[in-house]
């Protein structure tokens, strides 16, 4: 084919130069950069303060997991898989199974995370997710009993972030609940003679799902501005983050704070709760789909 060479002059065009200048300013003075956008009532990515990024949920594509989901919240991408194993129940809770959720924020998803054991951030998020899943009763642990005192299901709900652009909490809760809703367990029976549980490969039953919570996280900037669904650029500049969890009927389940700053007053919390309910009403209520 013809020579793939173009003889363009080596100067880059001025639109590229301006873009680089803006990026340089953002890199050197991130706080001032954000302040200038906020003063115009908009955020660096063009969103309004109360606007969430687009969400997409795909379930069931991982055959090695008993249930799975891939969630994209803007560019933040979280994959969650549920693996079911069998264990002896605790002595004082002979009819209860186990739900073990964990979120991993590995080095692949952001330059901020280096390889190694879970950071404080990942640990706190896993803890909070555990609280929400348990306290909102997504999967009643009594439904995981195979044989009282002998065998119960353990559901390992493992989420891994593949791309981190802020707000891992909302994305991960979505992924975990969607994966649980997608989970099918093999029909199990306890064989008294062999003292073992035997499962059927062919018969699988969907998991009993109790509740379908969704969460709404807001960052507080400069004490007064509420920024919904913060990005990874905005997060380090926030005073603190407030997350509101709402159940499938729009009822409030919990409100939690992630971070050390001051929340700033009652009206901030009620604004968050109202905004969350609004978002739930406008479409989030159907995010888990019909199936």
């Amino acid at each position: 084919m013809a020579a793939a060479v173009s003889a363009t002059p080596s100067g880059s065009n001025s639109a590229e130069q301006d873009a680089l200048k803006a990026l340089t300013f953002q890199r050197l003075h991130p706080r001032t950069y954000l302040e200038r956008f906020v003063a115009e009532n908009v955020r660096p990515d063009g969103r309004d303060f109360g606007e969430w990024r687009d969400i997409s949920v795909n379930v069931g594509s991982i055959s090695t997991a008993d249930g799975s989901a891939l969630v994209r919240l803007g560019s933040t991408t979280v994959v969650c898989g549920v693996k079911a194993e069998i264990a002896e129940p605790e002595l004082d809770r002979p009819k209860e199974g186990f739900l073990v959720p964990n979120l991993d924020l590995p080095a692949i998803c952001s330059p901020k995370f280096k390889p190694g054991p879970p950071t404080d951030e990942a640990q706190v998020l896993s803890d909070r997710l555990n609280e929400v899943l348990v306290s909102s009763g997504v999967v009643p642990t009594s439904s995981l009993c195979i044989e009282p005192g002998k065998a119960v299901w353990v559901l390992y709900v493992d989420a891994t972030c593949i791309n981190y652009d802020g707000n891992a909490f909302d994305a991960t809760l979505l992924a975990m609940v969607a994966a649980l809703k997608n989970t099918k367990l093999p029909k199990a029976r306890y064989d008294e003679v062999r003292q073992k549980t035997v499962c059927s490969r062919k018969n699988r039953e969907p998991l009993q799902i109790g509740r379908l919570p969704t969460s709404y996280s807001f960052g507080i900037f400069d004490g007064t501005h509420l920024l919904a669904d913060p990005t990874s650029f905005e997060e380090p500049l926030l005073d603190t983050t407030v997350s509101v969890v709402v159940d499938e009927n729009g009822g409030l389940t919990s409100v939690m704070q992630l971070g050390l700053g001051i929340v700033g007053g009652d009206d901030v919390l009620s604004k968050c709760i109202d905004a969350s309910h609004d978002c739930w009403q406008k479409g989030r209520r159907d995010v888990y789909g019909a199936s």
Binding site: T64, A65, V154
Partner: protein
């Protein structure tokens, strides 16, 4: 078959839990038996490859690859400053591999083990000859690979190498050429390309070949299990015939991504 590690940094389950034991089987009729032809595809057919570059926007370069039930995400960060006390005239390539806990039949505990390390070393060996590290003194390139679903370790290593090479090119790291890689297994008297996990189990030996088709150069050959030298050569030739197609898929994906930006 139990897992028992208490990790205070994570939410923990009970001390011991076991993989479900299944009824004997419901599967006997469909299982492959020696002497039968390969189930589902021809002996020299590879699984169709889907590759997309640039999905991880937080990284300098990235690629996602899917071959039926093997799904791998790869991100490249760097060149970064090497955290080394010695002065390195050539850059370093650091590969880290993580299996997601739900990626294999048996749940994998998140602690890194020898298998992760061994897969990383094989991928690194396939890539290093292709990267112009002499242009990056004092720098390190970090390649992070997450295996989301695993259907055959050989396929993971081969596909991981292809994804990593595409991610490196996407990241603007200078390379001599794109790396393609293909795996083969000796099953009875036949050579099967791109074995799945099940097929790997019934094989007597496997071989993974990696190289740069554009330069007609091989960068790494890894053989495991047992096979005659003749079979090993046959595996290598079969892999070389196919890995041009794999290179074309990667090239197409990178071109598409470059045209869209």
């Amino acid at each position: 078959m139990a897992q028992s590690n208490f990790d205070r940094r994570r939410i923990n389950g009970p001390e011991e839990s076991f993989l479900p034991i299944f009824d004997s089987d419901e599967e006997e009729e469909t299982r492959w038996k020696p002497g039968n032809p390969r189930i589902g595809r021809g002996a020299r057919d590879i699984r169709p490859i889907f590759l997309k570059a640039g999905l991880i926007n937080q990284a300098n370069g990235s690629a996602y690859i899917e071959t039926e039930k093997t799904k791998i995400a790869c991100a490249v960060y760097g060149p970064r400053q090497s955290k080394s006390t010695t002065y390195n005239e050539k850059g370093r390539l650091n590969v880290e591999v993580k299996f997601a806990p739900f990626s294999c039949t048996r749940r994998r505990v998140p602690i890194r083990d020898a298998e992760d390390r061994s897969v990383a070393v094989q991928i690194q060996q396939a890539l290093v000859p292709a990267v112009r590290l002499e242009l990056l003194p004092k720098s390190t390139i970090d390649i992070f690979i997450t295996i989301i679903e695993n259907d055959g370790m050989e396929g993971c290593i081969a596909s991981g190498s292809v994804a990593a090479s595409a991610a490196l090119a996407d990241a603007g790291i200078e390379m001599l050429g794109l790396v393609a890689s293909c795996s083969a297994a000796v099953v009875g008297k036949e050579i099967w390309l791109d074995p799945t996990e099940e097929e790997g189990k019934v094989s007597s030996g496997t071989l993974i070949l990696a190289g740069m088709p554009a330069l007609e150069t091989i960068t790494s050959v890894w053989q495991s299990g047992s096979m005659t030298p003749t079979d090993a050569i046959k595996c290598m030739e079969a892999c070389q015939e196919r890995y041009m197609d794999i290179h074309a898929v990667a090239a197409q994906a990178l071109l598409q991504n470059a045209q869209n930006t």
